[in-house]
Amino acid sequence: MIFTTLEHILTHISFSIISIVITIHLMTLLAHEILELRDSSEKGMIATFFSITGLLVSRWIFSGHFPLSNLYESLIFLSCGFSITHMICKIGNYKNDLSTITTPSTIFTQGFATSGFLTEMHQFEILVPALQSQWLMMHVSMMLLSYAALLCGSLLSVALLVITFRKNIDIFCKGKGKNFLILIKSFLFGEIKYLNEKRSIFENTSFLSFRNYYKYQLTQRLDFLSYRVISLGFTFLTIGILCGAVWANEAWGSYWNWDPKETWAFITWIIFAIYLHTRTSQSLQGTNSALVASIGFLIIWICYFGINLLGIGLHSYGSFILTST
C-alpha cells in the first residue's frame, strides 16, 4: 500500500516537473532568454531524473529484483535513460540543443508508460527462471540506455534533415513574405534563441547572409551533436549486445541464437555502424549520414516494440502479451 502511494507520488512529481520544464522551453522560445529560467529548467531535469530513479529504486526494493521485467518498467527506465543522456551531454558543456529533444522524449515515454493503456502492468512481475541472473541488470539497462541515446541522436539527425529540407523549399518560394516565413521557421525550430544571442554581432551583415550563415551553423551544430550522442549510444549498444551474448551463453546454451530480437539488435548495430562510417568520409557527411540515422530511428522502434508485439522468439518477456518462457 505504502509502495503504491510512493509510486504515485513519484510519477506525479516527475511528470509535473517535466511539464514545467517543457513550458519553460516554450517560453524561452517566445521571449528573450532569461538565464534563471534556463537554470531552473536544468534543475528541473535533474529533479525529474531523481524522482524517476527513486521510483525505480523503490520498485527494486519492494519487488526484490531489478525493475526491468516488463514493458512498464522498461519504459520508465527508458525515460530515465533520456534524462541520463541529457545530463551526460550537459557535462560535455553543450548549449541547449539537446534538451529540446530529451525533455519531450522523457515526457512522452513516461506518459505512455503511465497511461491507462498499460495499467495492468503496474503490478510486480515474477521473474521467470531465465531472467534470474545478474546479467539482467547489465544487459537490459545497457540496452535501454543505448536506445535512449540513439533515439536522441537520431532525432537530432531527423531535425537536421527537416531543416535542410525546408531550406531547399525556401529557395523555391523566394520573394513572397520571406521575413514572415523565416520568423515562422525560427519559431518552429527553436532558432530564436540563437537569433537573440547573435543579433548584436550580426547587426552589420545583411539579413539574408545572416540567415544562411546562421542556418549553416545550426545544422553543423546538430550534425556534430547527433554524431556525438549516437557514438555514445553505439558504445552502450555494443556493450549491451555483448553482455546479452554472454548471458545467452549461460542461459540458453549458445552466445548467438539468431533470435528475432537479437537479430534486430544486430541490425540496429549495423545501421549505426554504417552511420559512423559515413561520418569518416567527407562526401557522405551531413544529409547522407542524417538519412542513415533516421533509418536507425525506425529500426530501434522495430527492435524495441515491433518484435515484442509479434511475440516471437526467446525474448518474449517484457511484451504486451505476458507469457513465461
Binding site: 550580426f202 555514445l232 551474448a245 551463453n249 546454451g253 539468431w258 544486430f266 541490425i267
Partner: protein, 558 residues
C-alpha cells in the same frame, strides 16, 4: 625530431630552450582573463568570420602586423638547423609494392597487381557500406520469413499463383536458401566479403591514417594554421604559456622554437583498428563454433543416467570428440521451486559425473543461468517434463504410471495418465485419469470424467474413487538438459572483450593543436576527428586562460 622538446611541468621551460626567443622572464604579468567575449566559433564562411573577429579584437594593428609577418614567416624561424621533422617515413604501407622487385616473372607481377586491385576495391567505403546494408536487409528478411520449416510450409505460405509483394514465391525462398537464412550461402558469402573488406580497410586506410597521426608535425606557416577548422590568434601572448595550459588539460605538448604541436586522445585513432580486429576475432570464433562444436539434448528421468558421448552430435567437419565424452551423468534429483502464486520460480537438477570406472568426478546442482562445466562440456538446464507418477492402489504397489504430455495450445505444459480399473484387456478400458501441470499437485477424475479431487504428492493423503483407494506416493520429473562443447567460445569472448574496450575507446576524440609564435602574436589552430563542439568550447576556454603579456620587451634575441 631530436631537437623538439617534450615539455614537462616540473622542468623549467626557459632552461630547456637555450637561446630564449624573447626576454620574457620578468616582463610578464599574469592576467586572469585574456579578453572577454571572443569565443569565436570557427566555422567555414571565412568572410563573415574574419569580419567579426576583427571587430572583436581591439588592436587591429597587432593583427595586421602579425599578418605581414606571417608572409615572411620563413625568416623568423630561428632554429632552422633542425630538419623538418616528419616527412622521412613516408608511405609505410604504400611503398611496399615498389620496394621489392619481382624477379619471378609476369605471373607474379600480375598476381601482385590483382591483389592490390582487390585491396583497393575491397577497402572502398561505399562498397563496405553497401555490404553492411545488404547484410542488415538479409537479417531482417530472415526474421520475416519463418526459419527452418519443412518445404511444404513454404509452398503454402509463398504460393506461385499469389506471390508476396508481387515476386516472392517459394522458388526464390528455397533456391536462395532463405528458409535457413543464417546458414544460407548468400548470407555467409556476404559475411566473408565483409570480413575481407574489414581486413582490406584496416590495411590500406586505417593503419596509414594512424601512421600519419602519430607523427609530430610542426607547422611553420601561420597561414596553414589559420586554415584549420578552429583557428584563433592571440595578440601579446607567449607560446610557452599556451603549452603549459594545454599540458594542464591533458595534452601532450611538443615545442620546437616558435612552433608548438599538441595532441590528446590518440587512443581514439587506434581504437577503430581494434574494433575491426575484434570483429574479425569474433567472426573467427563464430566459424570455429560452427565448425567444431558438438550439441546434444536429452530428457532424463530423475534417478537415471546417460553417457555424454551418446547424446552428442557433431556440428561441423572440425568436431572431434574429446576424452571427457566418456563420462557418465547421473541425475540424482530434479526439483522445482515455486512462488507463492504457484508459478515456477526455478528448476534445479542435481547432477553427478562419473568416469567409466565408476569414480565420482564432480557433483553440482545446476539451474537455469547456472550450467555445469566439465572438460569443455557445458550442461544446461533447459527443459523439464513429467516422467511418471508413483501410486499405491488399495495398499498394493507402488506402481509407476508413465505420464504422457498432452497437447495444448500455448506454452503451458499438461501431463496426464490413466489408472485402468477393471479388466485392462477389454476393448473399452475405463479408469481414473490423473492430470498435472507441474510436480506439485495432481488432479484426479473418476471413470465418468467427473472431478474427484486434488492431491499433493508430498501429502500422502489417500483418496477414494469408485471404491479404489489411491495414494500418490511420488511425482517423478525428468529434466531436460542441453549439452554442448564449443571450441569457439574463448576466441569469441576474447573478441567480445576487445570489442567492448575498443568501442569505448573509440568515443575519445583525437585532437591536435598547432601554434606558432609570430612576434608577440600566437596563432593557434586545431582540429579534432570526433568531438568538434566540445573541442571548440574547450579550446576557447583554454585560450581565455592564456595570460596576456604586458610591456613586452620587443628586442628579441633572434
Amino acid at each position: 625530431m631530436s631537437s623538439s622538446l617534450l615539455l614537462n611541468l616540473d622542468k623549467t621551460l626557459f632552461q630547456a630552450l637555450s637561446p630564449p626567443l624573447f626576454s620574457i622572464s620578468n616582463a610578464r604579468i599574469f592576467l586572469p582573463c585574456r579578453r572577454s567575449g571572443v569565443g569565436v566559433v570557427g566555422f567555414k564562411p571565412r568572410a563573415s568570420r574574419d569580419g567579426f573577429e576583427a571587430e572583436a579584437l581591439p588592436e587591429s594593428k597587432t593583427k595586421k602586423k602579425s599578418r605581414s609577418n606571417g608572409g615572411s614567416s620563413k625568416k623568423i624561424i630561428f632554429f632552422g638547423s633542425a630538419p623538418p621533422p616528419l616527412s622521412e617515413e613516408r608511405g609505410g604501407g604504400a611503398g611496399n609494392g615498389s620496394g621489392k622487385p619481382a624477379p619471378e616473372g609476369s605471373s607474379w607481377v600480375f598476381l601482385r597487381r590483382a591483389f592490390k586491385r582487390a585491396l583497393a576495391v575491397l577497402s572502398n567505403l561505399p562498397l563496405a557500406i553497401g555490404e553492411m546494408f545488404f547484410i542488415a536487409a538479409l537479417m531482417a528478411l530472415g526474421t520475416v520469413i519463418d526459419q527452418g520449416e519443412a518445404p511444404d510450409y513454404y509452398f503454402q505460405k509463398y504460393p506461385e499463383e499469389n506471390p508476396v509483394l508481387g515476386f516472392i514465391t517459394w522458388r526464390w525462398v528455397l533456391a536462395l536458401g532463405f528458409d535457413h537464412m543464417f546458414t544460407s550461402p548468400v548470407f555467409l558469402g556476404m559475411l566473408i566479403l565483409l570480413a575481407a573488406s574489414l581486413m582490406a580497410c584496416t590495411y590500406t586506410t586505417q593503419i596509414p591514417i594512424v601512421k600519419v597521426a602519430r607523427r609530430w608535425s610542426f607547422m611553420q606557416s601561420a597561414e596553414t594554421i589559420r586554415k584549420m577548422n578552429f583557428a584563433d590568434s592571440l595578440p601579446r601572448a607567449s607560446i610557452q604559456d599556451l603549452g603549459i595550459i594545454l599540458m594542464g588539460s591533458g595534452y601532450e605538448v611538443f615545442l620546437k622554437g616558435p612552433s608548438l604541436y599538441a595532441f590528446k586522445g590518440m587512443a581514439g585513432r587506434f581504437a577503430p583498428i581494434g574494433v575491426h580486429l575484434a570483429m574479425l576475432l569474433i567472426m573467427t570464433g563464430g566459424t570455429l563454433s560452427a565448425a567444431g562444436s558438438f550439441k546434444g539434448s536429452v530428457t532424463v528421468p530423475q534417478g537415471l543416467n546417460f553417457v555424454i558421448g551418446d547424446v552428442m552430435n557433431p556440428n561441423g567437419f572440425l568436431s572431434f570428440p574429446s576424452e571427457s565424452f566418456n563420462t557418465e551423468v547421473h541425475v540424482n534429483r530434479f526439483y522445482m521451486d515455486y512462488y507463492d502464486s504457484g508459478e515456477v520460480s526455478q528448476f534445479y537438477t542435481d547432477l553427478s559425473l562419473f568416469s567409466l570406472d565408476g569414480k565420482e568426478l564432480l557433483r553440482k546442482t545446476i539451474r537455469v543461468n547456472d550450467p555445469l562445466r566439465y572438460g569443455g562440456i557445458t550442461i544446461y538446464q533447459t527443459d523439464w517434463s513429467f516422467s511418471a507418477l508413483q501410486i499405491t492402489k488399495n495398499g498394493e504397489g507402488p506402481f509407476n504410471l508413465a505420464m504422457a504430455p498432452l497437447q495444448l495450445n500455448g506454452d503451458k505444459k499438461l501431463f496426464g495418465t490413466i489408472l485402468p480399473t477393471g479388466d485392462p484387456d477389454s476393448p473399452n478400458v475405463k479408469g481414473i485419469s490423473m492430470l498435472a501441470r507441474d510436480l506439485q499437485s495432481i488432479v484426479l477424475y473418476d471413470q465418468e470424467g467427473k472431478f474427484a479431487g486434488v492431491r499433493r504428492p508430498s501429502s500422502k493423503l489417500p483418496i477414494e474413487i469408485d471404491g479404489t483407494r489411491i495414494v500418490i506416493e511420488d511425482a517423478i520429473g525428468s529434466t531436460g538438459l542441453d549439452l554442448k562443447t564449443d571450441p569457439g567460445v574463448p576466441v569469441v569472448y576474447a573478441g567480445f572483450g576487445a570489442l567492448m574496450l575498443t568501442t569505448c575507446m573509440s568515443y575519445f576524440s583525437h585532437s591536435q593543436i598547432w601554434a606558432l609564435q609570430d612576434g608577440t602574436t600566437v596563432t593557434v589552430g586545431g582540429k579534432t576527428n570526433r568531438a568538434k563542439l566540445e573541442f571548440q568550447d574547450e579550446l576557447n576556454r583554454l585560450l581565455d586562460k592564456v595570460p596576456e603579456l604586458v610591456a613586452v620587451d620587443q628586442n628579441s634575441n633572434g
